[in-house]
């Protein structure tokens, strides 16, 4: 196997708590890899630390500790050590698409200029060459080159998200990080954008780290899935294995909570599988972070923190799995 495109090793990130003296431990020792051309979905509920992890990976926020290595064509780039221009140039190889395509496009910049901006910023193309590449990118995301002269407010949500994707693809990155990139789209448009991403992955051999709370998206697009809870990965595995036989009680609860679009099957299920709320990230428990909500928890779970370990081809952080 070739080297992973992205390697995250023992990443920690904390913030000072708002208005108080405590510390929010948002990411607590996450390690994961994304292989070349691989789509990894990072799933978890609000507050689990998935967006903090994304910020740390992008170096929008410096992690407290840990390594983030991006495999660029001319060798590995240790993002956690880079600063200034070196970091800026490294970003060419890892691009990002955000949730809200309206907020992430400059309303005064035409679509063509928005897509050309990264080409200029990384010194990749100017003038006629840039226009040619913008036209090709807009075709590639299914918009057609004619939209280049339009402005974001003239586009629908689905079209704007395609512009965001074209912009991310412009510098020919090796990996794209998608932070809830289809969550704001309606069902019919979401399917279109997911199909576009599947096509791009096939045509460009593009790796993706797909951050989402939506398990339907995971089903559609992921090769592997990492489940995050209270700042830690609790289960990492291949999509079908993880969805078919989840090992961690939290993964199971999460899957059980998703309503099935089939009343006949839904009738036999109870939706409520999980009571209570996660503990505060300011006072993370000593043992397993999920123990206070876990239907299986034993004494040991409250005193001893489980570590990710392999169980039948999946990695699980649970004493009882």
């Amino acid at each position: 196997m070739t080297a992973p495109v992205l390697t995250i090793h023992d990443l920690h990130l904390s913030y000072p708590a708002r208005g108080a003296t405590g510390t929010v431990h948002a990411v607590r020792g996450v390690s994961m890899e994304v292989g070349a051309g691989e789509v990894v979905a990072l799933v978890g509920e609000s507050g689990c630390g998935k967006s903090s992890l994304a910020r740390a990976v992008l170096q929008l926020r410096r992690p407290d500790a840990g390594r983030i290595v991006l495999e660029a064509p001319d060798g590995p780039l240790p993002l956690h050590e880079l600063t200034g221009n070196a970091l800026r140039h490294a970003r060419r190889w890892m691009q990002v698409v955000f949730q809200d395509p309206y907020a992430s496009l400059d309303p005064r910049m035409s679509v063509g200029d928005a897509v050309a901006e990264p080409l200029r910023a990384f010194g990749l193309a100017r003038g006629a060459e840039s226009r040619k590449r913008v036209a090709k990118l807009l075709e590639q995301v299914g918009l057609g080159s004619a939209v280049a002269s339009r402005f974001p407010h003239e586009l629908s949500g689905g079209q704007r998200q395609r512009v965001g994707i074209a912009r991310a693809l412009a510098p020919e990155p090796r990996i794209v990080l998608l932070d809830e990139a289809v969550s704001a789209l309606d069902v019919s448009l979401r399917a279109q954008v997911l199909n576009l991403l599947l096509d791009l992955r096939r045509d460009l051999d593009l790796a993706m780290l797909f951050i989402t709370h939506d398990l339907a998206v995971v089903r559609a697009i992921a090769d592997r899935v990492a489940v995050m809870y209270l700042g830690e990965l609790v289960e990492v595995g291949f999509r079908d294995t993880l969805l078919r036989s989840p090992r961690h009680p939290y993964t199971r609860a999460l899957l059980d909570a998703v309503p099935v679009p089939d009343p006949a099957r839904q009738a036999g299920r109870t939706l409520v599988a999980l009571g209570g709320e996660p503990p505060s990230q300011e006072s993370v428990p000593r043992g397993c972070g999920f123990a206070n909500r876990c239907p299986l928890a034993e004494e040991r779970c409250f005193s001893e923190r489980p570590r990710l370990r392999p169980v039948d081809g999946t990695a699980v952080s649970c004493h009882l799995a």
Binding site: E45, A191, L254, A257, P259, Q266
Partner: protein, 318 residues
């Protein structure tokens, strides 16, 4: 049983710079006590405008006309909205998608519910406060007496949504309209809220109009379903018929575009194109430009909802 919510031939028009947007074009809807009806559709389909028109919550600039808008036997059209204002928050209440913007950040959660209790019941003083705690308890807020003293920002999204539901229940509503109540919530919290709605329908006999775009939520929570597209109901069915005997090509497209359980890395079936511009609806059936089943008649005449679906090809009852 007679319907609690009755809407007949509702039309809503908004003034826009380039002409009037006809957002709701002749909607009929009924919800009975103890029943949950899901109103399904994508952004701009007119589902929220339908609910807001019924609740009298649209801006004055919106033009609302209907043959009938009734809550039980109260005619909401008759006295220029006075009756609607009197009933709103009492016999009929609404819960919105975003629980943070619906709460006043300067008042504790308990005080906000207390306002509703005082407005819609005869309770005051200690009895009213006790009622607030009882309502929070009923909607499953742990430590309700303590949580009543909390500020909105101190609560999680799930607890804030419960607080809003508690507020909606203060006047003991016979009808609850919930507009995307779980869309902003995590799935485990969504499951808790849907369970709460089911208990309300079963225990209190509440009639629930549940507005959602999520067909999983529909399958889990609704008894009947109305699917909206471009301002009209295009399909109406009991929940199991909707999924087992889907008629309208739009509904079938929606169902197909949900990623399946497991397996292939194939492309998802998708509905081509995008919903029509409300200022420039196509002739005939508004779904026609995206429809795989189009026949000549579809361009000539908009199909009525006479059977299960408003469709010239698939609309006949079987």
């Amino acid at each position: 049983m007679t319907a609690l919510l009755t809407i007949e031939d509702l039309h809503v028009r908004f003034a826009a710079p380039d002409g009037a947007v006809h957002a709701v074009r002749g909607v009929d809807l009924e919800v009975r006590p103890s029943e949950t009806v899901a109103l399904v559709g994508e952004s701009g389909s007119g589902k929220s405008a339908t609910a807001l028109a019924f609740m009298g919550l649209l801006p004055r600039s919106a033009e609302v006309t209907a043959n009938a808008l009734r809550l039980g036997d109260e005619d909401l059209l008759r006295d220029g909205g006075r009756r609607t204002r009197r009933l709103r928050g009492g016999r009929m209440a609404m819960v919105f998608q975003d629980p943070l913007t619906s709460l006043n950040p300067h008042l504790t959660v308990g005080d906000q519910i207390l306002e509703a209790v005082k407005l819609h019941t005869d309770l005051s003083g200690g009895a009213a406060r006790a009622r607030v705690v009882a309502l929070l308890d009923e909607v499953g807020v742990p430590q309700p007496a303590r949580r009543a003293l909390a500020w909105p920002h101190q609560l999680s999204g799930g607890l804030r949504q419960r607080a809003l539901i508690a507020m909606a229940l203060a006047g003991d509503p016979a009808l609850l309209i919930a507009d995307e109540p779980t869309t902003a919530l995590d799935v485990t919290v969504q499951a808790q809220i849907l369970d709460l709605f089911q208990r309300l329908c079963a225990d209190r006999g509440t009639a629930l109009l549940l507005i959602t775009h999520d067909l999983g939520v529909v399958a889990a929570a609704a008894h009947h379903v109305a699917v909206m597209y471009a301002g009209r109901v295009v399909e109406r069915a009991g929940v199991s018929e909707l999924f087992s005997d889907t008629r309208h090509p739009y509904t079938r497209g929606l169902l197909a575009s949900i990623p399946g359980d497991l397996g292939s890395r194939d492309r998802l079936p998708q509905i081509a194109g995008a919903p029509p511009d409300p200022l420039d609806l196509p002739s005939g059936c508004p779904f026609r430009p995206r429809c795989p089943e189009e026949v000549d008649r579809c361009a000539e005449e908009e199909p009525p909802l006479d059977g299960p679906a408003a469709c010239w090809v698939k609309g006949e009852a079987s």
